[in-house]
Every structure is written in structure tokens, then in C-alpha cells.
């Protein structure tokens, strides 16, 4: 219930490297053509050795057609040596943290641009608790996954603390990964 206010786009001075006009254009286009909004994100993962697995991310589907990243991105995942592993990359759960942090951070930049807030630095620090008695099958009452995720943002920007808190809140509201980790998702795993 705020008094009406419209941001006049020509008055926007902030430059966070986000093309908000393109995003707003896409929003308008996909409102009119909702079929184009149906995306499919894909990954393929191959076992290397031990707990080391290599994921390749290249193609995806969107705007009604096949799309591709500029190149094939390779993500190595493994476990640290205290797990008797070779530590060839972050653990899969750390990729989850990376996904959450980068999604929220991208959201902060976008929302800040839209609200004409110049960012100077944004840093997220994440910590997620996990009781290994879950994945090791020691205690059936303990879940496998995180018992919680704590994200702390340090944001330096031309804005009041309250506006920065609002930026961070709005980025959560619009974040895909925040939704994925806070809400259930049906997962089907099949064998060919």
C-alpha cells in the first residue's frame, strides 16, 4: 500500500551491468507468448573415478527452440580427503550453495538496477549445517540434507540499509534456486 510511484527509465543513472530494458522487454514478450517462457535446463554427468564426477552443461531449451551456452561448461565434483576422496572439486552440496548464492547475487544486481541503486560490492557468505549421521545411515531420524542454510550478505551500495535489506528480500522472492531449496520439488530418477 505504497503511494503510487513510477520510475521513469530515462532517469536511471545506476549501472550494474544489467540490461533491465531487455529483461522488461522479455517480460512483456513472454506475457504475450507464454509458450516461450517454458524452459528446460539440462546437465549431463559422468563418473570419473571414486567419488569424482564431471558434469557438463551446454544446451538448454527456451523461447520455443533449442539454445546453447557459448561453450560447454565443465564442473568437477568430488569430496575432500577426510572422506578418503581425492578432492578433485567441490562437493555436490557446495554446488548447491554456489547455486543459491549466485542466484541471489544475480537477483540483487538486477533488482538494484531496476530500482536505480548503484552497487559497489556484493559478497555473500554461506554456511549450511549437516549432520553426517544422516547420509551415513547412523540415525534414521536425521535427514541427509542441510539442517539449515545461513546466507549473510555484505552489500556496499548507494542506498540506505533499509533499501539494501529490501533488495536482498526481493532477490529471494524472485530467485529460482531459493525456491528450489525452500520448497519441495518432484524428482524422478529412472534408469535407461
Amino acid at each position: 500500500m505504497q503511494p503510487a510511484k513510477k520510475i521513469v527509465r530515462s532517469e536511471i543513472k545506476a549501472n550494474n551491468g544489467v540490461d533491465v530494458d531487455a529483461l522488461l522487454g522479455a517480460r512483456q514478450a513472454l506475457t504475450e507468448q507464454p509458450a516461450g517462457a517454458a524452459f528446460k535446463w539440462r546437465a549431463t554427468c559422468t563418473w570419473v573415478n571414486g567419488t569424482h564426477a564431471r558434469t557438463s552443461v551446454h544446451k538448454f531449451f527456451g523461447l520455443g527452440t533449442e539454445q546453447a551456452h557459448k561453450k560447454d561448461f565443465i564442473l568437477d565434483a568430488d569430496h575432500p580427503e577426510i572422506f578418503a576422496s581425492e578432492d578433485n572439486g567441490p562437493t555436490p552440496v557446495e554446488y548447491v550453495l554456489a547455486g543459491l548464492a549466485s542466484c541471489l547475487t544475480a537477483g540483487i544486481a538486477t533488482v538494484a538496477q531496476h530500482r536505480n541503486i548503484q552497487l559497489r560490492s556484493v559478497k555473500a557468505t554461506l554456511e549450511a549445517g549437516m549432520d553426517l549421521q544422516g547420509i551415513l545411515g547412523i540415525d534414521p531420524e536425521v535427514r541427509n540434507g542441510f539442517d539449515g542454510i545461513k546466507v549473510t550478505f555484505d552489500v556496499d551500495a548507494d542506498a540506505s540499509r533499509e533499501d539494501i535489506v529490501a533488495l536482498v528480500a526481493q532477490s529471494q522472492k524472485r530467485s529460482a534456486v531459493f525456491d528450489v531449496v525452500t520448497n519441495p520439488t518432484n524428482v524422478s530418477v529412472d534408469v535407461r
Binding site: M1, Q2, A4, K6, Q172, D179, P184
Partner: protein
């Protein structure tokens, strides 16, 4: 398509009553429109499935208006109260609207259910439980809250758990439950959670996006502020994102002069357990979102932004409030709110769905809906000739769903409607159509 003069010359079958305009719904909006149509000399009938103000006859017992008596008025009609700062009970609202209907001699056809409305000739044909009607202009005023909205997850509840909507709920004694899961934290959800807690029930409240608002601020009712600062008069074409504005949940208010907020903190203090948005029911368990903290942070931020705006407005307009500005304590959120509850283990006997409501346009066989099934309209002028809507959220103004909000909307839309009739029927409308009511006023 026959011209109007031909239609008039040819006697219509006795079973079809022809009027210039039909208003569906004899609540405050439909009656206010009837008053305006009479003022324009437009021959019309108000079709009502039950009695005048039927929605108000079918709600929970303790329900009161969220707007104080001083604000509760309709065109040419104000509440004559010795208590301008009080809040009408739902029975008083029924009496208020009954009296209004008689006072304006509204041509209401009560006990008339509309089965279907479709394009016919140059207007609309209505099939009802009391015969067929033909009109050139049709006004949808059957309310924004005709049907309760219940999430699909409700279907997965075990049979042992009662599933009750806020439309069906009446009072705690009628709800055979010791532990109730109330889903939704808009005005309805927090009011019902509060009432159940006061009646000694255990309550778990599932909370998604919500609007936190104090009943009083700086010694004045919040409606005084919103009214004076012009917030309620904001027009639909002045806001940044009207789709979002139309979906803002109702604020956490109750029609009571009791001090303090009816917010999550107050409900926690009374013993409620607060969980996130309900996201699913499976195998006898309800699952909640882990985003509760952010929903509470957003509600706190929006509350403070509103209070900042009101303080700024008071300063700029030299309007001293009795008390100094204040800020309310942030919403308390547990470190680990529940993500899943076993209905059996928790002994949850009933789920009370306060998850919003929808208008009921099921009878409307006119292509005027968008992909989401929402009515396509521009400030109440529906995307079909001579079709209008009233009383929907932010229809033309933020106050469009309030009783006092009907006056401005009805003025605008009745002028539009009168011009429409003039255009389609030329001078013929004037023939024998000087506000002669088709049926008698709603005498009781």
C-alpha cells in the same frame, strides 16, 4: 440482428423480460449501481441469488467490517451512528444494506440465481431460476469473494482431518477440533486464528506473503491515515504493476478498537505456532516452505515503508497526529520453523483454509477471460460490449472493494454505461424508460 425499433415493435415472448440493464448481485456495489442507473433514468433490474447482502449473511459470526463507521457510506447514504469509530457487525451490515435497498427503491429480484449469461442479439440473454432476461448492458456485481479458493493440496488430506473453508466456518464451538491448522495469514486467517486461540484451541498458522498493518497509528485509526493521505484513492492506471496490486492479500486487520496489532507476534504470544506457506500434503503430513523468514522480513519492510510515507505526508501537510511516530518490533521468527508436520502425531483435527477467494463468473458464457481465467477489463469496463464489473480488487481504485469505494467506481462506470446505451439504442431508450422499476423494491 433486429434493430431496436423492430424489437420494440415485435412483442417479446412473455417468458423473456427485456430491460436496458441488469445488475447481477444486490450487495453494496450492485445497489450503488442501481441507485446510479435510476439517476440516469435507465430501466434496470438487480438480480440476486439470495436476499440483499447475501454474502454478509453467510460468513463467520464474529466478522465485522474492517472500515470504521464514519467511512462506511454509499451514494446518498451514510451510516447514522453514535459511534463513528466503531465497526459494524455482519448483521449490522446486512441491516445497513437492506435499509439502503428500500431507501433507493432498488428493483431487486431476490431468490434469482443466474444459470447462464451469453451474447444474444445486441445484448445479453440471462437464464435464471426465475425465467429469462434480455438486456443491453450487464453489470457484474456478485462480489470478489463468492467462492473460496482452496489449494489443490487439500485433496490429499486424510479423511480423519476436517477440511473447512473460511466461507463455511462460523464459530469455534461449531468446529470439532482441539488443534487447528489455519492456512493463510491475511485478515481472515489472523482473525480466525485469534478467535480459535482465545477459545482455547491449539493453533498452527501457515503463513506466506502477508501484509502487516496496525489498526491504530499515532493515535488514529489506520483508515484515517490511508483515507487522508489519498492512498485509498490511488487509481488503477497510476500504479506500476496493477496485476501485482490486484493480488495483494488483505492486511492483518480486524474490525476492533482493541489496542495493538493482530500480527504474527501477537498470535505467537497467544500460543500459536507459526509455519511457512503450505506447499503440499502427502502421506498424512503437511509440508511448509522454508521461506517464512523472508516473507516476514518483506512484511516488516513494507509496513515501515508505509509508516514512513504516512509520517512524511503528515509532516508535509501539517497534520499533527496525537502521538509521535513509532516503529513496531520486527516479526519474531523461530530459528527453525517446522517444514513438515505429521497430522496424526500433532493431533491436528481440522485444517481451516483462509487461502483467499475468487469471484464466481461461471455463469458468464462470454469470451472475456484471459489465460488465467481472469476477467479482461479496463477499470471495470469489461472487454465485451456493454459489460461491466464492480467490487473487484483495485478495479479502478485501491478502495474498490470497500463499501465506500463503490461510490466513485459506480459514478464512473454508470456514466460509461449510459453513454454506451445511448450509442447503441439512440433515442429509443427514452421510450417508457424513466426509471420505472420492473419489479417492486426489495420489501421484506
Amino acid at each position: 440482428m433486429s434493430s431496436d425499433s423492430q424489437r420494440r415493435a415485435t412483442p417479446t415472448p412473455a417468458a423473456v423480460r427485456t430491460v436496458d440493464a441488469i445488475v447481477v448481485g444486490a450487495g453494496h456495489a450492485g445497489l450503488a449501481m442501481s441507485h446510479a442507473l435510476s439517476g440516469h433514468g435507465i430501466d434496470h433490474v438487480v438480480i440476486e441469488r439470495g436476499e440483499v447482502a447475501s454474502a454478509w449473511r453467510e460468513r463467520w459470526d464474529s466478522l465485522r467490517l474492517l472500515t470504521p463507521n464514519w467511512q462506511t457510506r454509499l451514494p446518498s447514504y451514510a451510516h447514522e451512528s453514535h459511534d463513528p469509530d466503531g465497526f459494524m457487525t455482519r448483521h449490522e451490515v446486512v441491516a445497513f444494506l437492506d435499509h439502503y435497498a428500500r431507501r433507493i427503491s432498488a428493483p431487486v429480484s431476490t431468490g434469482t440465481e443466474v444459470f447462464a449469461a451469453s451474447r444474444e442479439g445486441d445484448g445479453y440473454r440471462l437464464t435464471t431460476s426465475r425465467g429469462r432476461f434480455q438486456c443491453r448492458a450487464l453489470v457484474l456485481a456478485s462480489g470478489a469473494h463468492a467462492l473460496p479458493h482452496v489449494p489443490g493440496a487439500a485433496a490429499a488430506l486424510p479423511a480423519s482431518v476436517a477440511s473447512v473453508t473460511a466461507h463455511d466456518y462460523r464459530r469455534p464451538e461449531r468446529l470439532d477440533a482441539r488443534h487447528v491448522l489455519v492456512v493463510g495469514a491475511s485478515a481472515t486467517g489472523v482473525q480466525l486464528a485469534h478467535e480459535l486461540l482465545r477459545a482455547g484451541r491449539q493453533v498452527t498458522l501457515s503463513v506466506g506473503e502477508h501484509v502487516r498493518m496496525p489498526r491504530h497509528y499515532r493515535g488514529l485509526d489506520i483508515q484515517r491515515w490511508l483515507h487522508a493521505a489519498g492512498v485509498l484513492d490511488q487509481r488503477y492506471d497510476q500504479v506500476d504493476d496493477i496485476v501485482r496490486a490486484r493480488h495483494v492479500p488483505s492486511p492483518q486487520l480486524a474490525g476492533t478498537a482493541a489496542p495493538g496489532l493482530l500480527d504474527l507476534n501477537a498470535l505467537r504470544d497467544l500460543g500459536a505456532r507459526i509455519a511457512g506457506r503450505l506447499v503440499g500434503v502427502a502421506d498424512g503430513k503437511v509440508h511448509f516452505s522454508g521461506a517464512l523468514r523472508n516473507h516476514c522480513v518483506m512484511a516488516d519492510l513494507k509496513l515501515n515503508r508505509l509508516l514512513d510515507a504516512l509520517d512524511r505526508w503528515a509532516l508535509e501537510h501539517g497534520c499533527p497526529a496525537p502521538l509521535e511516530p513509532e516503529r513496531f518490533a520486527p516479526t519474531q521468527v523461530d530459528a527453525s520453523p517446522p517444514l513438515a508436520l505429521d497430522l496424526g502425531k500433532e493431533r491436528i483435527d481440522a485444517v481451516l483454509w483462509a487461502t483467499g477467494s475468487r469471484p464466481d463468473f461461471g455463469f458468464l458464457r462470454v469470451p472475456c477471460f484471459d489465460r488465467q481465467g481472469r476477467l479482461r477489463h479496463d477499470g471495470g469496463v469489461v472487454d465485451a460490449p456493454g459489460l461491466y464489473a464492480l467490487g473487484l480488487p483495485f478495479l479502478r481504485r485501491r478502495k474498490s472493494t470497500f463499501i465506500h469505494g463503490a461510490e466513485d467506481d459506480v459514478r464512473d462506470l454508470s456514466v460509461h454505461l449510459a453513454r454506451f446505451l445511448d450509442r447503441v439504442s439512440g433515442a429509443s431508450r427514452a421510450v417508457g424508460a424513466v426509471g420505472e422499476p420492473l419489479m417492486g423494491p426489495a420489501a421484506r
